[in-house]
Amino acid sequence: MSDTLIPAATDRKPSRAVALAVAGVVGASLFTASRAYAQSKTYTFNDIPGSGDIKALNYALALEDLESALYLQCLDKLKALGISSGILFDYTSEFTTVEVDHAAFLRGAITSAGGSGAAIPVGTYAFGLDKITDARGVLEFLLQVEATGVRAYLGAIPFFTTKSAYLQTAAAIQATEARHTSVLTIVRNILYPGTNVDVAPLSGDTTINDAAYNTAVPNQGNKGIDVTLSPDVVLAGVSPFIVKIGP
């Protein structure tokens, strides 16, 4: 297996990216912030081990591994903030279970298909949650990561083999990420009214710029559909949070 996604441990400090995400700065997505403030290696799709479907599945697993770790840490963070009930805690808890399920399923599928060692190892992540001081910060961070997950799966589709037996299952995961995104958006709008955001892509949305999203499907912003993000864009966005991959 490739070891290109197994970097030496580094002292990652994604505090700037997290701060921007938490602050909800308009136009400063997880990605623009991360690209600007990445501390070390920026991973690309070439760093994902395997080929064909295994590579595409490992890409999905890399993101699910990170996402499930984030959810688990966010649950702990909410508890540390004295929050152990209510809609934010309840949905964070529920979605943690789902994301852990996704990661475990993908790891098992890759191992079944490619044998022992085919799956990308479990990672260690530093999300800078210590810099977050309130529940809203946790929620905003989760929202950005979920929204990224929806787009990341769409962006991965071209990398599956044609008529891949895995594509339907990957799609069955992708839409759950979309549900999570919308539910967390509603939670946000309920808990922090006044700056409500929309729960789904709109028709005629002119704020979506195809070039910025590096999409393979043109003019998505005007079609009321989810936009895609290419794997390289996604990996650049999450790279600052990766401390190491593997033991």
């Binding site: 529920e94 279970t97 789902v98 399920d101 996704h102 475990a104 399923f105 929806v150 799966y153 769409l154 589709i157 071209p158 599956f160 044609t162 008529k163 037996a165 594509l167 339907q168 299952t169 799609a171 069955a172 995961i173 992708q174 839409a175 759950t176 990420e177 979309a178 549900r179 995104t181 919308s182 539910v183 958006t185 509603i186 709008n189 309920i190 409500n196 955001v197 929309d198 729960v199 789904a200 892509p201 709109l202 028709s203 005629g204 949305d205 393979a216 499907v217 998505q220 005007n222 079609k223 009321g224 559909i225 989810d226 936009v227 895609t228």
Partner: protein, 288 residues
């Protein structure tokens, strides 16, 4: 309990549902669709590859057939949303969406009429909330407006894609679409309960079509629509007090799983076979 309610409710046996539809004389359109779409459905069968999984759906290739399958559903869904929005806004049920011209199936050409973020445009709620409190009721009407436009845009998008491919393109059912007699559309909550069931069917339809697509670009475009249907369903479910899902509950279309065992009910989405979706939707909503 009427047919539509049964379509929406958990625990509905598909066979019983279809039998009831047939007994009610509502299976004619579905049978026409299954038989090759002659007559009322106005499908263009030029170059139809006659894939048994998509009975009557035109297309020179399986990809075109899948896109026409999606368009068949989006045309119906967009029109059902348009009708629901008109009901909720106190407008005539035949009224066009603001921004449409000439007929209810025309594309939205006056894009300035499309409501922007967090806006209901010129639409105002004029219906009972059905017990929703002020906040959820406002959100419910907002979603109704937004999703009505999004579904119309999905329809227009798919038509555009098929047109660009030079593909035969399915047209609207000649006699239109309607909620079955007796469907409760008397309040915002009732309307959204109905639409949430339709959205769930849409999610299953797209996911069920994925294995047939042999072009990943087409799969990507379809998936980008599919996940918005999931967003719609989850959002509406939240407002009306249902689990946001995924939930295994669409027995009318025969819920199927992408893997034998789901660790939890909401780990993965569920899907339905295209021919089952077509027959069920046609039975329920195509005017004969």
């Amino acid at each position: 309990m009427n047919e539509m309610t049964e379509f929406l409710r958990d625990g509905m046996n598909r066979r019983a549902f279809l039998a009831r539809m047939s007994a009610a004389g509502l299976g004619v359109g579905a049978m026409a669709l299954l038989a090759g779409c002659s007559g009322d459905d106005n499908n263009n069968n030029n170059g139809n590859i006659n894939d048994a999984n998509f009975p009557g759906v035109p297309g020179r290739s399986i990809n075109e057939v899948v896109l026409n399958f999606a368009l068949t559903l989006e045309i119906a869904e967009a029109d059902l949303y348009r009708q629901a929005l008109n009901l909720a806004a106190g407008r005539p049920i035949t009224a066009l969406l603001d921004g449409q011209q000439n007929t209810i199936y025309d594309p939205i050409t006056v894009t300035s009429a499309i409501p922007g973020p967090q806006s209901t445009g010129a639409y105002r709620a004029n219906i009972s909330t059905g017990g929703l409190s002020a906040g959820p009721a406002a959100a419910a009407f907002l979603y109704l407006v937004q999703f009505a436009y999004v579904e119309a845009t999905h329809r227009d998008y798919l038509k555009g894609v098929l047109g660009a491919m030079g593909a035969p393109t399915v047209t609207n059912n000649a006699k239109g679409y309607a909620y079955p007699t007796g469907t409760d559309l008397s309040s915002l909550k009732a309307i959204l309960t109905t639409l949430q069931g339709i959205e769930e069917t849409g999610v299953r339809a797209y996911l069920g079509a994925v294995p047939f697509i042999n072009d990943n670009g087409i799969a990507q475009a379809a998936a980008a629509i599919y996940s918005t249907e999931a967003r719609h369903s989850a959002s509406v479910a939240y407002l009306i007090g249902l689990d946001a899902g995924p939930r295994k509950n669409r027995t009318a279309v025969g819920d199927k799983q992408v893997t034998t065992t789901y660790p939890h009910e909401n780990t993965f989405e569920y899907f339905a076979d295209p021919n089952v979706v077509l027959s069920t939707v046609a039975s329920a909503f195509f005017v004969k």
